[in-house]
Amino acid sequence: MSGITPSQTVGPYFGIMLSGRNACRQLSQGTTGTRVVIEGRLFDGRGNVIPDALVEIWQADAHGHYSHPEDPACAAADRHFNGYGWAHTAGDGGYRFETIKPGRVGAPDGGLQAPHILVSVMARGILARFVTRLYFGDEPSNAEDATLALVPEQRRATLIARCADDRRYTFDIVMQGTGETVFFDV
């Protein structure tokens, strides 16, 4: 038995680590599903953009399967899709992912979750990452999602990406203050 290693801030220089990774490509030609662009900006408690954040996402494939050994349906997961995406915010606080809309994943109560993407936010000034979820603004099943139902109604909109059309979604993340994004303890 030993204790969990504490988190420390990602700091301002993680870009040199990311640049050594393979390019972040979630899609290839063979990926199944509706191509979508998820983009947004990060803001601090004064409404200033955050140009030095690490945004990571994790999502299921178009059929709601995870390419991960603990998903019982792992064998059926799309081999041409990578559910892990990462981005360094730009000078305007912006990030962008080109991905597919995930399918519905099973819920612990036996039902189905609404399509969603898990989001982690790290940055200089953030000592331990914050996690949230992105839901899709044009998705009727949001109304029956058990996780979303735990969020106070007046704050739920902060988790719902606005759709310009069925392929382009905007998801701004507000770390603090008016319109503060809901973050989770999970």
Binding site: M1, S2, G3, I4, T5, P6, Q8, T9, V10, Y13, F14, G15, I16, M17, G20, R21, D44, G45, R46, N48, E56, Q59, A60, G64, H65, Y66, H68, E70, D71, P72, A73, Y84, G103, V105, G106, A107, P108, Q113, H116, L118, S120, A123, G125, I126, L127, R129, F130, V131, A146, T147, L150, V151, P152, R155, M175, Q176, E180, F183, D185, V186
Partner: protein, 238 residues
């Protein structure tokens, strides 16, 4: 329509308060970047229990040896940093991605934003990555990073540290942290290090000098184990 199978893998234990640092007024940049609303507690689902798997095929031996990534050796004190990635019940975490980034021996990052008046080293990029073996072991060869000043307060200097990024087996095990070196005189003065308020917990961030890891006539060895969240004993039966 596909109807995905309900979650059956064991859940992750919740993290006790006091492990991961909260907002810290002494670390000024936290002031506007931490939420003021309470976190909303939610159950774990298959989405949180599964997690990223990095495409490992592109990682080679040079990726974990930061002293051999350029034409010549970098300046500074060569060191070995080795340890294991475990969960809180002591189980090794094999085949997981461990990445590091750090300043060079003079205390300067090879990053455009770093304006510290210290020389860059053309033979040092300061980044590495590796995959843990079947016993959860990782190993890097690098240069001991220098101390450097930062703008947090008057005469502020960071203790020497190496940034670590670990994926672990699931979304909930994701960890980004910093490894420190034993006996650093800047420990009492650093708000980031001291953001972990319990001294025993804070000590988990400090590596140990290890003579058995040290290679004669070549490099000192430092040992540092990384401990991730562990699992509940019994699976959730839906």
């Amino acid at each position: 329509m596909h109807r995905p199978i309900v979650t059956t893998p064991p859940l992750y234990k919740r993290v006790a308060p006091g492990v991961h640092p909260p907002e810290d007024p002494a670390y000024r940049s936290t002031a506007l970047r931490h939420p003021v609303e309470p976190l909303v507690t939610i159950p774990q689902t298959l989405s949180e229990i599964t997690g990223p798997v990095y495409p490992y095929d592109a990682i080679g031996p040079i990726d974990s040896d930061l002293t051999r990534q350029h034409a010549a050796a970098p300046l500074g004190e060569r060191i070995i940093v080795e340890g294991r990635v475990l969960d809180e019940d002591g189980r090794p975490m094999p085949r997981t991605l461990v990445e590091i980034w750090q300043a060079n021996a003079a205390g300067r990052y090879a990053h455009d934003v770093d304006a510290h008046d210290a020389p860059l080293d053309p033979n040092f990029s300061g980044t590495g990555r590796t995959i843990t073996d079947e016993e959860g072991r990782y190993r890097f060869v690098t240069i001991k990073p220098g101390h450097y000043p930062w703008g947090n307060h008057e005469n502020a200097w960071r203790p020497a540290h190496i940034h670590f990024s670990v994926l672990g087996p699931g979304f909930l095990t994701r960890l980004v942290t910093q490894m420190y070196f034993p006996g650093d005189p800047l420990f009492p003065l650093d708000p980031i290090f001291n953001s972990v308020t319990d001294p025993a917990v804070r000590q988990r961030l400090v590596s140990s000098f290890d003579i058995d890891l040290t290679i004669p006539d070549w490099a000192l060895g430092f040992r540092w184990d990384i401990v991730l969240r562990g699992r509940e004993a019994t699976p959730l039966l839906a």
